[in-house]
Amino acid sequence: MAESSGKNGAEKQLVELETVAIRFAGDSGDGMQLTGDRFTNAAAIAGNDLSTFPDFPAEIRAPVGTLAGVSGFQINFSSRDIHTPGDAVDVLVAMNPAALKTSIGDLKSGGIIIANVDNFGQKNLAKAGYESNPLEDEEFKGNYDIHEVKITSMTRQALEDMELQSNLADRCKNFFALGLMYWMYSRPLEPTKQWIEEKFGKRPEFVQANTRALEAGYFFGENTEVFTSNYIVREATYPAGRYRNISGNVALAYGFIAATKKMGINLFWGAYPITPASDVLHELSRHKNFGVQTFQAEDEIAAVSAALGASFTGSLGVTCSSGPGIALKAEAMGLGVMTELPMVIADIQRGGPSTGLPTKTEQADLLQVMFGRNSESPLPVVAAATPGDCFWTAIEACRLAVKYMTPVVVLSDGYLANGSEPWLLPKASDIPEMPVAFHTDPEGFLPYNRDSETLARPWAIPGTPGLEHRIGGIEKEDRTGNVNYEPENHEFMVRTRDKKIAGIAKDIPPAEVIGEASGKVLVIGWGGTFGAITAAIEALQARGASVSQVHLRHLNPFPANLEEVLGNFEKILVPELNLGQLSKMLRYQYLIDTISFNKIQGKPFKVGELITKIEELL
């Protein structure tokens, strides 16, 4: 569909598109994350469905112009329901040759390149490993719709009379690129101008410079004859209501705040900075009015230890980290299992082992959190499926922790943590009330007297008269909790702790099959792969393929009906960003065959990869 829009002389075509994916790529100091973030906001305001994927290096400022220093932000926005940031992009904004080189493989054939040619000199080309300028290569030119734009020099021109130092002027060039994209996709400038005003209000010269750069980019698009058309992506038809764009880390923080508020207890957050989990600490530290205490500990062990100490005292202790930090917390998590205190451990997974790929995503900590402690040390594990789902997963973890008096692990990952999506805002009243009742009656009190249904022991906190008691890491005597080394008691307690966690299966929703309840292929996933798997399944189901989907939130214990569900399909495909960890768990638990589909590149699945794999099995 096309309509003409004549403005300021140049005759332009306005073309309607359903879905567009754009990647902004530049040096890590070029402000690409901010640019992407603003473009995302504009798409959200326009009512598009969207999904984002920030992808940045571990180094804060890698050498300028190098491949290692490229920071990218991908956004997929659409007038229909979408689930992923897009397998490939339609538009690549490349601020330098390195950005072009690292991202060109993800640009669709015939896709648009907006290249900041001011940065395509010999030196920068060499840094990116180009022997000659690809923008001048005939074959390359034939494959893409290339727009060479002097972003740096045009930004400088626009700010010429402001007498800014040139490095300050150059820092506004991302706003020029953003303005150009706003023109190209028919977005209003006003919300971003307002945002600039709020963000840089204290420095009027920054407000003026960034606003001017933004406008200059927009007007450049409008007036130059290079661009013959611009585009519109209309509102998507997703459920009506109030929305905000939310990242997984913010949603996770909100979930913990909401859960403890509903419980009527304080949230104690013990954490040590680690990528990609630190943002949860940052977010929570801004919400002390909820009674949140944030404790930046001296190390990961102190973070979890203080959290467990806080739980012993009647707060809900939560600690949050990534794989390497979780490894350090293992002993204290085991103490939480032994002392049967509520605690939540959030693991924002990243590529590993060891330091691995700190800023890249992976889901290879499942077996670590299941088994990475000494001896028989079971605890519930739940995983978030989307950025917004991090909110509900945090609440579920808190519920289980307090109801069953146990540490609970929440698994998120770098992709969910930093990625974002429009989120239909829940109301406080949608969240179940979960009032906590501490034990107060000294009559017949025994610290390990269990609730007959949940097998949870009482939560008896210091300061309660008559409930003085001792807990600790040494094996407990049944009921009294006294130190006990008896062989039979030990076996009884090991089995009881195991039974308590296994019993949670009765208290969680059954696995839900999306699609036919039986058939040829069942694709079963967990965690942040939900979007890509869902998109693949939807595409195949639309073509009439016999494929269904299950996505697990509860990984320990599994939903009670899972074995039955698995039995209804000829083939079980388990796509994971690891070497098959859920696959192993399904195999040993149910003695069934599974087909693993694995990707370990620090990147999420592409929908196309999944479709191809599923088609092989159909």
Binding site: R242, I257, H287, K288, N289, A302, F312, R470, G472, G473
Partner: protein, 340 residues
């Protein structure tokens, strides 16, 4: 809570017995830990603090069994991490009287990091460090306070590690209350416990404690009659640093940060003061015995600083004064839009 009448002068009617749990104490016969436990159980009832407000937190080691024997709230945690657990306890409920029981291995080796950070934060926990210069529970390896050349199970031809000096470390970590006592000096130990109980912020008490099995006599010079008189100096705020038997009194001069033993009536004798903000005097005082002087017992330093838990609670209270958290308001904050 017990209703028996006070025997120790406590205002709440509690007695030593109220602080004894029903668990059998399992330290080796003759262990110095018994004396420390007994003193603690004697002092607590006199403090006018309800029994349910006491929490004893420990790590791993012989000393770490201490909480099991106290009829208070207790948490026997993992090796070296007790100060971190205690931080969570104290911050969650600043009203509690939180005690950390630790040893030289637990506090200074595996738990060194948590020890120094709890002290520099000034968390209001009371740390009792049982220093016997040996690993007892693992049966006799040298510890971070063992002397160079110590012959132990793991160093049969002598250790090549230089020892750590707990009080010097505590002062370096900005600890606001630093003191020392011995397991043989009941009255003095009781006085130290009392002072700790009343101090806001971190207090660290080193107890020179005898391990009768693996390092017997390590501190005899400072604890046994006939020797201690020559080798111990009792610190009193505002009093000169003098020590020694009646007929052989001596003084300590720390002028110019040099340790000198002088006549008791010499004008050079330094007058002890606990409120040494700068910490330089306390530092040299913590090293008197290393320079051939007597070992100082008592409070080396006691300064006032707002404790961590108070600052933490104040921040939350200040935030709540501006309006308590509301879930709907939180969810609706930032850029939101209505989709029709």
């Amino acid at each position: 809570m017990s209703t028996t009448t006070a025997k120790n002068g406590g205002g709440l009617g509690l007695t030593r017995k109220d602080f004894q749990s029903d668990q059998v104490v399992r330290w080796c016969p003759g262990c110095g830990d018994y004396a420390i436990l007994a003193q603690m159980q004697k002092v607590l009832p006199t403090l006018e603090i309800p029994r349910e407000k006491f929490v004893f937190v420990s790590g791993i080691g012989c000393a770490a069994r201490f909480p099991y024997y106290m009829d208070t709230f207790g948490f026997h945690t993992i090796h070296g991490r007790a100060p971190a657990f205690a931080t969570g306890v104290k911050v969650s409920n600043p009203d509690l009287s939180v005690w950390v029981i630790s040893g030289d291995g637990d506090a200074l080796s595996i738990g060194g990091n948590h020890l120094i950070h709890s002290m520099r934060r000034n968390v209001g926990v009371k740390i009792v460090l049982f220093n016997n210069r040996v690993y007892g529970l693992t049966k006799g390896q040298y510890s971070p306070t063992s002397l160079l050349g110590s012959r132990t199970k793991s160093t049969p031809i002598g250790s090549v590690d230089y020892p750590l000096h707990p009080l010097t470390l505590a002062l370096g970590a900005e600890c606001s209350f630093v003191a020392r006592t011995t397991d043989r000096d009941q009255k003095h130990m009781a006085a130290m416990f009392e002072e700790m109980a009343n101090h806001e912020g971190t207090s660290l008490l080193e107890v020179l404690q005898n391990c009768i099995v693996f390092n017997d006599g390590a501190w005899h010079k400072f604890t046994e009659k006939g020797m201690k008189e020559q080798n111990v100096i009792y610190l009193e705020d505002g009093q000169p640093l003098v020590y020694g038997p009646e007929d052989d009194r001596k003084g300590v001069s720390l002028e110019d940060y040099k340790v000198r033993i002088v006549e008791a009536d010499s004008p050079d004798v330094t007058v002890h003061r606990v409120d040494d903000e700068a910490g330089g005097y306390a530092h040299i005082l913590s090293r008197v015995e290393l320079e051939g002087g007597p070992v100082p017992l008592g409070v080396l330093r006691k300064v006032e600083r707002p404790p961590f838990e108070g600052l933490m609670v104040d921040q939350v209270a200040a935030a709540q004064e501006k309006g308590e958290g509301d879930i709907d308001a939180l969810l609706n904050s930032g850029d939101t839009w209505e989709h029709h």
